[in-house]
């Protein structure tokens, strides 16, 4: 997938074109291509994509739970917070309270923390792990990119919770508040430096040899 930056000048021209012509038409294309000949190729491609977009079948429905965040929204919020943090570090924007930013980096729903004490115990039992490893999963102390997909699926089944929600939870930043009940101001950008790899977490959580073998076989 391309990761090119948006050409602000071109983006503005596209905005103008689309705002002025809700339904694309021949005059629109002709006018803009003549007005901005340096973008004639891009404008033509944009017009083609716009036509395809207009012609696409419509879907309209009311959102029953507009405030319920989806995994994609959680991921985007995390991206937004990182971008905001970076901008603050560079002095591009006025400094906000770091702890406010950090607090909201943990916004992804945590389906394990939502379990009752008995529910948490049952979850660990079904997953066949001890409470130490279960707590590491709850507190996002294991780097999600080192976890086998089959293991994440099993975690979702053992909670039980939707796989997307569990994946979003595991991918979110480590939950400091749940882990250590300590509040502190970070000196740097929030990262995954405190996370263990899946393999290390399995080896360092006091599991039995049989449990370790099963987990590492995922």
């Amino acid at each position: 997938m391309t990761q090119g930056t948006i050409d602000a000048e071109f983006a503005k021209i596209c905005h103008e074109m689309i705002l002025a012509n809700e339904i694309p038409n021949p005059d629109m294309l002709d006018t803009y291509v003549k007005q901005y000949p340096q973008y004639s190729v891009e404008l033509t491609d944009f017009a083609v994509a716009l036509a395809l977009d207009v012609l696409a079948p419509l879907y309209e429905e009311v959102d029953d739970a507009p405030e319920r965040a989806t995994p994609a929204v959680s991921r985007t919020m995390s991206h937004f917070q990182n971008a905001l943090f970076d901008a603050q570090q560079k002095g591009d924007v006025r400094r906000l309270e770091t702890k406010q930013v950090l607090a909201h980096m943990q916004n992804a729903a945590n389906p394990i923390a939502a379990l009752s004490k008995a529910g948490f115990k049952g979850f660990a039992c079904r997953l066949d792990v001890n409470s130490v490893l279960a707590a590491k999963l709850r507190d996002r102390q294991i780097a999600s990119d080192t976890m086998p997909a089959a293991f994440i699926t099993m975690v979702a089944q053992c909670i039980p919770e939707d796989i997307d929600i569990v994946a979003a939870h595991l991918m979110a930043a480590p939950d400091q508040t749940l882990r250590a009940r300590q509040f502190h101001k970070a000196d740097g950008k929030p990262g995954n430096s405190e996370q263990e790899s899946f393999e290390d977490a399995v080896k360092n959580s006091g599991l039995t040899e049989d449990q370790k073998r099963k987990l590492l076989a995922y």
């Binding site: 596209c14 103008e16 705002l19 291509v33 003549k34 033509t44 985007t76």
Partner: protein
Amino acid sequence: MAQNLVKLREKGSKKGEPYQRPALVEADIDVAIGLDDDKIFARLSIGDPKADGYLRSECLVHLIRCALKGENAERYNRLLPVLLKRCERNLISKISARIVPYAEGLRDVILQDFATLFVEDLGDPDEGILDMFECKFNLAFSSLRIDRFRQEMNHFGRYQEPSNSRSASRGDDEADKLARFTDEDWLILPQEAGVLKHELHDAILGLPPDVRKALILVKFYHLKEESSDPDETTAAKLCGCTGRTIRNRLKEARKQLAPFKEYLKK
């Protein structure tokens, strides 16, 4: 109560004309800006755009900009996810895994592009990057989405062939036969929103990029294939090729879309 910390640029557009919010949006903002957090947050649960108290997306953009500027983290962290979810629903309807194999990743990229605009806007308020989103949100977001989609089309060219395409099942010979209808028989693409059947839309997306471009320019935008007038904008000119090449591409499009000709007839 929030302060109205954001004003639209006076010379917002490329032509130096000011952007103007529609009256309904202005009225929405006037009310919303005076509400405290609890009242605003309560209105976030209204998901029906026709219901009283529904916060228009344009209004949400304004409130988020004000919250960022006023350093009200709680407010922008509650408002932005609601707006992003609306955007995501729009993206799901427009960029489906049926036609783009990595649809979810592409949707994420567009959502993140959009969220980043708020950070850029905060860093450079004079640029007014988000002004257009306060005027006509859906169109402005469409522009962002389509521009990214255009980049992807250029990068990958052709999307996956519809797996159940009828041309595949009928074979080339039959497609050739079906292609032998005259130019008058097959339609100029309608300029109405949302009118194409899934199968046809998928088939057009599955065309080779040059063929698809020629088809849209001639059959949707009604451009001439070529012209003796050097000042006239034609499909050949925009595609950087001859009129004959355009006609060959149209012929190819006709052949590939022949199984869907009933959707194309007037």
